[in-house]
């Protein structure tokens, strides 16, 4: 029931490490089933390569259900491939045709250096969160969860921003390699909730400062990030972040 009959040509980016040059390498694959996920197609490729005594392609992946944010392939010029609102691991081969040539590259951004083949280093995102993407509450200090009612629409909006999986597709697709969609999603989530108010203006300043320090570019409102985000994170978050940033710099008593 599984063997399929799709034949594909893959052009896959191979790069030994960050100090060597990479190149696209061609691979022919046959017997691919339309029910396979894109990564399962790569499993088939790697099994072939291992059996031939060659080195398999290194790529990041883990949960394979679209939530961990680890998979990160740039497929035919689009992060996570041709379908909207899906990650690479949730992309299935039925989205391609028999005989297709598929080009697969890593995320490309100065702040995301290539580690090997299709794997990049996204630790810059962690450092941006560490700079302020939290509410400072130690364990054991919380009041009863229902003491502070939160309007449903605010809670829902915060949730929508919080749905970001930190995959970095926004950065990969942006011509400026800007991380503003990612950063603004976290800032928005916390700015929309009453718990996030005490640190609101401090947070936006420190996270933006770290974002700049990591070498991410600026936003020029092309909207590619929103179009390619597998979780549909809205561009409105960037507007909210910019408002908060301006408020912090010009109005807030607390500038850092």
């Amino acid at each position: 029931m599984s063997t399929g009959n799709m034949n594909l040509t893959l052009k896959v980016w191979r790069q030994k490490n960050n100090n060597t040059k990479g190149a696209l390498v061609d691979y022919k694959l046959s017997g691919i089933s339309p029910d396979m996920s894109f990564l399962e197609m790569f499993d088939v490729l790697n099994e072939d390569l291992i059996n031939k005594g060659e080195e398999p392609v290194v790529f990041d992946h883990d949960c394979r259900e679209g939530i961990c944010g680890m998979c990160s392939m740039f497929i035919n010029g689009r992060p996570h491939g041709p379908k909207d609102l899906v990650t690479t691991c949730q992309l299935h081969m039925r989205s391609f045709k028999d005989g297709d040539t598929i080009v697969v590259e890593p995320w490309r951004a100065a702040a995301f250096p290539v580690v090997k083949d299709l794997t990049v280093d996204r630790s810059a995102f962690d450092r941006v969160i560490a700079a302020g993407g939290f509410i400072s509450v130690n364990t054991g200090n919380a009041q009863d969860a229902n003491n502070l009612p939160i309007p449903k629409m605010h809670a829902d909006a915060a949730f929508e921003a919080a749905a970001c999986i930190g995959c970095g597709a926004c950065v990969a697709t942006c011509k400026n390699a800007s991380a503003m969609l990612f950063v603004s999603a976290k800032i928005s989530q916390l700015a929309l909730l009453p718990q996030g108010q005490p640190e609101r203006y401090r947070r936006v300043q420190s996270m933006v400062a770290q974002m700049d320090a990591e070498g991410f570019g600026n936003c020029t409102n092309t909207g590619a990030c929103e179009a390619e985000c597998p979780k549909g994170i809205s561009l409105e978050n960037i507007a909210r972040m910019n408002r908060d940033f301006a408020s912090a710099k010009f109005i807030s008593e607390e500038t850092i």
């Binding site: 599984s2 490490n17 089933s33 029910d35 396979m36 399962e40 499993d43 088939v44 291992i50 080195e55 398999p56 990041d60 883990d62 949960c63 394979r64 259900e65 679209g66 939530i67 961990c68 944010g69 680890m70 299935h92 090997k116 996204r122 630790s123 995102f125 962690d126 969160i129 560490a130 700079a131 302020g132 993407g133 939290f134 509410i135 400072s136 509450v137 130690n138 364990t139 054991g140 200090n141 919380a142 009041q143 969860a145 229902n146 502070l148 009612p149 939160i150 309007p151 449903k152 809670a155 829902d156 915060a158 949730f159 919080a162 749905a163 999986i165 989530q189 909730l193 718990q195 996030g196």
Partner: protein, 659 residues
């Protein structure tokens, strides 16, 4: 009967934890600054413990194999987290959560641990909301709840179908805050390969930097493993591809007992296998059973489409067999019932290994309510379905999208096809009341330990346990041990014990790359998974288990002589990582079968075909098997059984009934 001490405090069940907390020895703030704790794993159990211990003032090092702590597999938990808040005023209480969990676990969990879990459950929700975790709310601004299996109250808090993600990101943000303050040193893309023991106590770990292949030595006054479950022993499971048992297994080989390894949870509602290429299975949250009705055709080998089968020719077998709990029976019961129908020839879909999960009736019901709210009287069916679909979409939208993406079918129009799949492992490293393993100074939290779920975990209880352990239990209990360690200075890592542990780890890596055999790691993993699923899966029997043990031993020999691991040890080499993990899974698989063979009864997720009631329900043997099976590793992959007797002083042990 017991030959191991679980260190449960004396006194009334309801006072044990309170009294323990107030009398446990403390470590003063200046001493905390010099005490180092290693945490392996950054999921709910690991990240919450790392953040909390750092907040308390300890020096913490945290390790994960992923590129960021935010990617730990807790992120994929969908449905929710239980807490005894009684916000719905439906009669919930700490005792009721405790009772449901013990009963749901088929009377194979420790009373004192479970009661403590129920006590701290409410604190978890408070903590998460304070961190900015956007749990679902009602229009009045208060938190919403839903039902999960095995309970008759609504105590499950949720964030759409992404509860695990939101809770993990909460713990991750707390962890990153400590990292930013320099109080936690984070080691991503690192895998623990050995526990270092000095004078019998855990004093550190050997870890491999997965990018460079460098082997590193790390000292800690104590080591905590929050490394998750071992469901990937079955190859196909709902676990992430990287989820593994290696850290726990290395600890086991250094003296930590492994408890109840045969207790595995097969989740009833997963997307069925579509072919041999399949690399993992995807869960459809249990929360769907709130609104989905499970059925198969009444006629055998019925090839009609679901929509063509009239109502009176459908067998809603869960509602038929278990009228009191219906579609919300616990997972083990629902899984076996699905297997029973499919084995009997009533399965649906191309493989016939699936049952329907149908939302039509409840979509219509919701639509009727919405119509009434909108002032539409006597709405037609179409209107009801249209309005109801919007409600279903809001509740489960992301799950429906995921189902459509994977199967290519639209679940709003046709019922989902589902089948059970390996999801969670109740067994794990044995721990005492303090969450300490049988190796002093080595702790284990979350799914990686065995402690709270008995033979079957209830839905929405894994997130509860992971965070309970990490935020509210371990930070107290570890103090009892560390208070005696304040005079111990950091041990230099050139100590012979570190050298020796590193040699063990390096020896295995070198051996793996030098076999240069002919079969890939996945080849062996798939074969192991096949043996485990067929012989040690949803139903087991003595004959099959004996065969499995023999087959796994042969597989182990073949693996070590014929596996092919390309590349070298000094580089990023995912095949080498997988090889080490599969080597450990093979040994674990054997122990699981040994444990399943030893337990001559059926309980929870462990169903021995020889031991069932006339109606096909699990038949426990409380006289002979009311114990935790804690296995000690012996040279040459041998295992010795130790027993911890389970005493039920507050709950009357009974045949579990959901009828």
């Amino acid at each position: 009967m017991s030959d191991i001490n679980s260190n449960i405090p004396e006194g009334e069940l309801t006072n044990k934890w309170t009294k323990y907390k107030s009398s446990v020895p403390l470590v003063n703030p200046s001493n905390k600054r010099t005490i180092e704790v290693i945490i392996v794993g950054s999921g709910l159990a690991g990240a919450s413990a790392a953040a909390t211990l750092a907040e308390m003032g300890y020096k913490v090092k945290c390790f994960c194999f992923q590129d960021s702590p935010r990617r730990a597999h807790s992120i994929a938990a969908q449905g929710g987290i239980n807490a005894a808040k009684n916000y719905q005023n439906d009669g919930d209480s700490t005792y009721r959560l405790f009772y449901d969990t013990i009963k749901g676990g088929d009377y194979r969990a420790r009373e004192a641990n479970v009661h403590r879990l129920a006590e701290v459950s409410a604190n978890i929700i408070d903590q998460c909301v304070a961190q900015g975790v956007p749990l679902a709310r009602e229009y009045g601004g208060l938190l919403d709840n839903r039902s999960f299996g095995g309970t008759q109250v609504q105590r499950t808090f949720y964030a759409a179908g992404q509860t695990g993600q939101q809770l993990l990101l909460g713990a991750y943000s707390a962890l990153e805050r400590q990292i930013g303050m320099g109080k936690v040193e984070m080691y991503t893309r690192h895998e623990m390969l050995e526990v270092v023991k000095i004078d019998g106590k855990a004093r550190g770990i050997i870890a491999r930097n997965l990018i460079t292949g460098e082997i590193e030595r790390h000292f800690g006054h104590a080591v905590v493993l929050g490394t998750g479950g071992y469901g990937n022993v079955f190859y196909l499971s709902t676990n992430a591809m990287g989820s593994n048992v290696t850290a726990a297994w290395k600890a086991h080989k250094q003296g930590a007992y492994f408890a109840n390894p045969c207790y595995t949870q097969i989740h009833p509602t997963c997307i069925p296998v579509s072919g041999d290429h399949q690399s993992k299975l995807t869960l459809m949250s249990e929360s769907l059973r709130n609104d989905g009705r499970i059925w198969v055709p009444k006629k055998k080998d019925d090839t009609r489409k679901a929509s063509e089968i009239p109502e009176d020719e459908r067998d809603y077998y869960l509602e038929r067999r278990y009228p009191a709990f219906g579609n919300l029976v616990p997972r083990d019961v629902a899984s076996r019932a699905a297997k029973e129908r499919c084995d009997a020839g009533y399965g649906v879909g191309a493989s016939k290994l699936a049952v329907y999960l149908d939302f039509k009736a409840n979509t219509e019901r919701y639509g009727r309510i919405e119509a009434s709210k909108a002032g539409i009287h006597n709405p037609d069916k179409e209107t009801c379905m249209r309005l109801g679909t919007a409600v279903i979409k809001e509740k489960y939208g992301n799950l429906f999208d995921m189902y459509a993406q994977i199967t290519g079918e639209n679940p709003y129009e046709t019922p989902m096809r589902i089948y059970p799949a390996v999801h969670y492992t109740m067994g794990g490293l044995w721990v005492d009341y303090n969450l300490m393993t049988s190796v002093p100074g080595l702790y284990c939290t979350g799914e990686a330990n065995f402690s709270d779920h008995g033979a079957n975990r209830l839905g929405a209880s894994a997130l509860m346990q992971g965070l309970a352990d990490g935020y509210f239990v371990l930070p107290y209990t570890i103090g009892a041990y560390l208070s005696k360690e304040i005079s111990v200075k950091a041990i230099p890592t050139d100590h012979p014990a570190f050298v020796e542990a590193e040699e063990r780890a390096v020896g295995i890596l070198n051996k793996l790359v030098n076999i240069k055999g002919t079969k890939s790691v996945d080849h062996f993993h798939k074969r192991l998974g096949h043996i485990m699923w067929e012989k040690c899966g949803m139903a087991r029997n003595a004959e099959g288990l004996n065969e499995a043990i023999r087959d796994i031993r042969a597989l182990r020999a073949e693996f070590w002589s014929n596996v092919r691991v390309p590349g070298t040890v000094n580089e990023l080499n995912p095949e080498l990582e997988k090889a080490g993990r599969v080597a450990d899974f093979i040994e674990l698989g054997e122990l699981m079968c040994i444990d399943a063979l030893d337990r001559n009864e059926s309980c929870g997720g462990h169903f021995r075909e020889e031991y069932q009631t006339e109606e096909g329900e699990a038949l426990r043997d409380d006289v002979n098997y009311a114990y935790v099976a804690a296995w000690e590793f012996k040279e040459g992959v041998q295992f010795e059984l130790h027993k911890e007797e389970l005493k039920f002083e507050n709950i009357k042990v009974a045949q579990r009934s959901y009828k």
